[in-house]
């Protein structure tokens, strides 16, 4: 098995111990100069080699020692030393240094020398099988003269590590491709030397034992932190369940469950804030009428027993809690009781909801941008074949049947890619293209029409519900609207799927994107109609009653109905369908787990929660219970009834897409709705913390005015409020700044793309030039070698024994020295054979075969 020869042009990663840090861009003129130098050196060397060969020719006995010929033709080990500038330029070419740091270069070199050393210095004891006998390896190390070199490299690496901070050192150690034992040794060495240095500094002082103690404390706390971290990792919920799912279904289905976990975290955060600042204080000061008796129906309708509790907006008081005194007639503030903390409920309500929305926004945007940074790269859309070949096998999958499915999926994917490529090769007629565009437009029109139809149906039904008021005992009738909406959400996606079967897209990923987009538009349209219905019509209809309570209860009903339909869908869509397809239709395939539809359902559910958090502060608790139950139900159904989807699923792209969808239409829509309610809608005058105000925002404004009159210590707050929030110039300035930053980022990305193209061009130019030089040199030697071969006797034995002759050895060496790939070498040899008229018989034929076999290996 041939090692690639270290040609003078194929410079191994010379560690940067030549002290260079200059980037290739700075040395453009030097590049040109060094290339000229290289060409001159090559021609000189070729001339020398030619002379050398001609010298040896008259002494055929000398060819009995193939090593000499090897040496003469191998060259690089005895090559004249090239200028450091040349080597430096070549070593720092982008193709050699992308993603490499100095330490990694050194460590790779170290690793490679260790392996080469181990391989090369193994004692030749006949057919010794490569075993890990420690005694023999020890023997290697002791007899090896290169061990000293290895020690030197190790010290270099340790020195490199000491120059870094602790975090950087850990990061570099983690990224080094050496094994764990050596990493541990390196870390200990770089730590102890540092510790020793510190010890040396404090030697002879009282501080020496203190510093040692401090050092020991630091180490102990570090290890304690590590233990806690590993304990936390073990406590991570559902670790085994996620492993099971990933092992049987792969990363694609796992992404749904990870998304569910993310939503759980968001809701937990929201609930914590609301419990601490709104629900808790109000629950500690109960007020209002005693709630009615609990009947079973409340769980579905949200009214009845739940109506006058902390669950809804109407229960919250509009006064300051813990300060039970009437305001004095002369307008002064009433003094609080001794030892109590007054709690202004309206203000707390407004600020908590605002803070919760703000924190959710920041968290969402941060996780979205983090995920985006992980999953999108400049130029990431090309290279689909390479990515399928190398990145599509999911190592998580453990079950045999699951990996068989993966094999099938990958095979199907590759066949589809080839088919798509072949289709592209065929020129498509104008007629066919027009037809495809027409079908696309038609299908989109039909889908949009369906969406509008559904929205209109919801609108009409809600108007009907408004017209016919519900009697006190018939609260179950209130469930009609959520039922209709959920039915539409269930039926319309099947219609879209049917319509999408008419289209014929080139790429299956585009189909998935289209399906997601259509479903999303449907959900957002229906939610928009519902928001209009609540804010526009219900508020007007329930003028004297508590409309906020009603809206809160409506949203509760929607959430519960959504959950019931999710359960029914799992039951009928997966379990019953599996029975039908196995028993009746006799198909071996289980139903597929539809990831896109399930994730969109989760996003829709979360939007409902965000819409309703103002009217029902305990809604996130309902969502947490719902998500927990949904996890277990979906997991059980998945393991029992489903199989992984056959379509390719770019898990990380899709995760980013779902987070984006969660942020933009979902959260943004909810934020717009909440902002409108807070700013523009008049709160009801009979219930809730804002019952005497014109808008909910008024509470904040009143408070700021109170601060102004209160004292000068907090007047800066009112100044801030007046000039930053009320005044719109500031907001315009901030928006303009944001737009400028976004524009700059876009330009930077464009520039990076251009740089990548230029670098790619540079790489291929350099390789072409180098190969041109090398091929010319090699041709010259090949012709010289061929001439020698013709002069040599064919098939004579050599001192090496076996069936290798000097001629074949020459061929072998020439083959190894070939600078180009397998196919080009075949072509070149064919040409040379024809050119020199070498008969395909005897030693030469065997030589060619040996040569080709050497090339393959």
């Amino acid at each position: 098995m041939a090692q690639p020869l270290a040609f003078v042009l194929d410079v191994p990663e010379t560690p940067g111990d030549q002290g260079c840090e200059s980037s290739p861009q700075d040395d453009e003129s030097e590049v040109h100069h060094s290339f000229c130098q290289l060409i001159q050196e090559q021609s000189q060397w070729a001339a020398e080699e030619g002379l050398e060969l001609q010298q040896r020719e008259p002494a055929p006995g000398a060819w009995g020692a193939p090593d000499d010929s090897h040496q003469a033709l191998l060259g690089p080990e005895v090559a004249p030393a090239h200028s450091t500038a040349t080597l430096r330029i070549l070593a720092s070419m982008p193709s050699r240094t992308i993603g490499r740091s100095r330490g990694a270069v050194i460590s790779q070199y170290y690793n490679r020398t260790v392996r080469l050393r181990r391989r090369s210095s193994r004692p030749l004891l006949g057919e010794m099988s490569r075993s890990a006998r420690p005694s023999l390896r020890l023997y290697d190390l002791e007899l090896d003269p290169a061990a000293g070199e290895e020690e030197e490299k190790l010290n270099l690496l340790v020195k490199e590590l000491q120059g870094l901070s602790v975090a950087q050192r850990d990061h570099m150690l983690r990224g080094m491709p050496v094994n764990l034992a050596e990493k541990r040794c390196l870390r200990d060495k770089s730590q102890t030397l540092r510790g020793m240095r510190r010890g040396q500094q404090h030697r002879g002082g009282v501080c020496s034992c203190c510093s040692r103690l401090g050092y020991a404390c630091v180490l102990a706390s570090h290890s304690l932190g590590l233990v806690l971290l590993s304990g936390l990792h073990a406590l991570a919920p559902w670790r085994f369940a996620l492993k099971q799912i990933g092992g049987q279904f792969g990363s694609s289905v796992l992404s749904y469950f990870l998304f569910l976990k993310t939503l759980l975290v968001f809701n937990a955060l929201l609930l914590l804030l609301l419990l601490a600042f709104i629900v808790g204080p109000q629950a500690a000061f109960p007020q209002g009428p005693v709630p009615t008796a609990f009947m079973g129906l409340e769980l579905l309708t949200g009214g009845g027993g739940f109506a006058h509790t902390v669950m809804y907006y109407g229960y919250y008081s509009n006064a300051t809690l813990n300060q039970p005194c009437a305001p004095q007639p002369n307008g002064s503030q009433c003094t609080p009781r001794a030892g109590s903390l007054p709690y202004n409920m309206p203000l707390a309500y407004l600020f908590t909801v605002g803070a919760a929305a703000f924190i959710t926004c920041i968290t969402l945007v941060y996780s979205m941008s983090h995920s985006f940074g992980e999953s999108y790269r400049v130029g990431s859309t090309s290279g689909v074949h390479a990515i399928t070949a190398f990145c599509s096998w999911d190592y998580k999958v453990t079950q045999k049947w699951a990996s068989r499915l993966q094999h099938d999926n990958i095979r199907t994917r590759l066949k589809e890619l080839l088919a798509a490529w072949q289709l592209q090769q065929e020129p498509r007629s104008m007629c066919g293209r027009l037809r495809q565009v027409a079908v696309l437009v038609l299908v989109w029109l039909l889908c949009l029409g369906t969406t509008l139809g559904c929205a209109a149906a919801v609108h009409v039904f809600s108007e009907v519900m408004l017209e016919s008021p519900v009697a006190a005992g018939q609260e179950a009738a209130l469930l009609a609207l959520p039922l209709v909406v959920c039915l539409l959400h269930l039926a319309a996606p099947y219609l879209y799927r049917g319509l999408a079967a008419l289209e014929r897209h080139g790429s299956p990923v585009l189909e998935v994107y289209m399906a997601i987009f259509r479903n999303l538009v449907l959900k957002m349209a229906i939610l928009g109609v519902l928001c209009y219905h609540w804010l526009g019509r219900r508020v007007a209809a329930l003028r004297d009653q508590c409309w906020e309570d009603f809206v809160g209860q409506e949203l509760y009903r929607f959430v519960v109905m959504d959950f019931i339909f999710a359960l029914l869908d799992t039951l009928f869509g997966e379990l019953v369908w599996r029975f039908i397809s196995e028993k009746k239709l006799k198909r071996r395939r289980k139903p597929e787990f539809d990831i896109a539809r399930n994730v969109l359902d989760l996003i829709y559910g979360q939007t409902l929660i965000w819409l309703g958090v103002l009217f029902s502060p305990l809604l996130p608790a309902i969502q947490i219970i719902k998500l927990l139950l949904l996890f277990y139900v979906k997991k059980t159904s998945l393991l029992a009834n489903c199989q992984a989807p056959r379509r390719p699923w770019l898990a990380s792209h899709m995760s980013t897409l779902f987070l984006t969808l969660l942020c933009f239409p979902s959260f943004l829509g909810a934020a717009v709705f909440l902002s409108y309610v807070v700013w523009q809608v008049k709160p009801s005058s009979t219930c809730g913390p804002f019952r005497t105000l014109d808008s909910m925002y008024e509470a904040g404004r009143l408070w700021v005015r109170q601060l102004e009159t209160a004292g000068s210590s907090v007047s800066w707050l009112s100044w801030l409020y007046q000039h930053l929030v009320e005044d719109t110039v500031f907001i315009f300035l901030v928006s303009a700044l944001l737009l400028a930053v976004i524009y700059l980022n876009i330009q930077v990305v464009k520039g990076q793309r251009k740089v990548i193209c230029l670098l790619k061009e540079q790489i291929s130019n350099v390789t072409r030039i180098m190969r041109g030089i090398w091929i010319r040199w090699w041709h010259r030697h090949a012709t010289a070698g061929l001439a020698i071969c013709r002069a040599l006797p064919a098939g004579t034995g050599s001192p090496r024994g076996g069936d290798s002759s000097p001629r074949q050895d020459t061929w072998r060496v020439l083959g190894r020295a070939a600078p180009c790939g397998y196919r080009q070498s075949l072509r070149i040899f064919a040409i040379l054979e024809v050119a020199f008229g070498l008969p395909p018989a005897g030693g030469t034929h065997v030589g060619t075969r040996t040569l080709l076999s050497a090339l393959i290996l």
Partner: protein, 138 residues
Amino acid sequence: MGNKQTVFTPEQLEAYQDNPFRQRIAQVFSEDGDGHMTLDNFLDMFSVMSETAPRDLKAYYAFKIYDFNDDDYICAWDLEQTLTKLTRGELSAEEVSLVCEKVLDEADGDHDGRLSLEDFQNMILRAPDFLSTFHIRI
């Protein structure tokens, strides 16, 4: 494999061994390249295949796994082996060679007919899924 005490029957064990690259993984991570791993090698393997290993480290070892002839380049023969193992030999020879050609077209940056470590790393940079697929959950 979980937190329950289980005794595996041979059939059950057989069900867990279907990674097409299992021999290559053992060879790459073993010290002498013959597939026999010590505890350190085993830890090494799980450390590289864990969730938090850096991308470059994973790319380095993935490159070594796919380099069947250990010549520090992924040549066309290596690619053919990879594809055959991935599809369990169910693609025709023509299709395999076509895919190999396209892979080399796409990923070979310096146009030498084979993929070096840099080419591979460059290609991995464009594949965000790599981190989640080259990962074994413990």
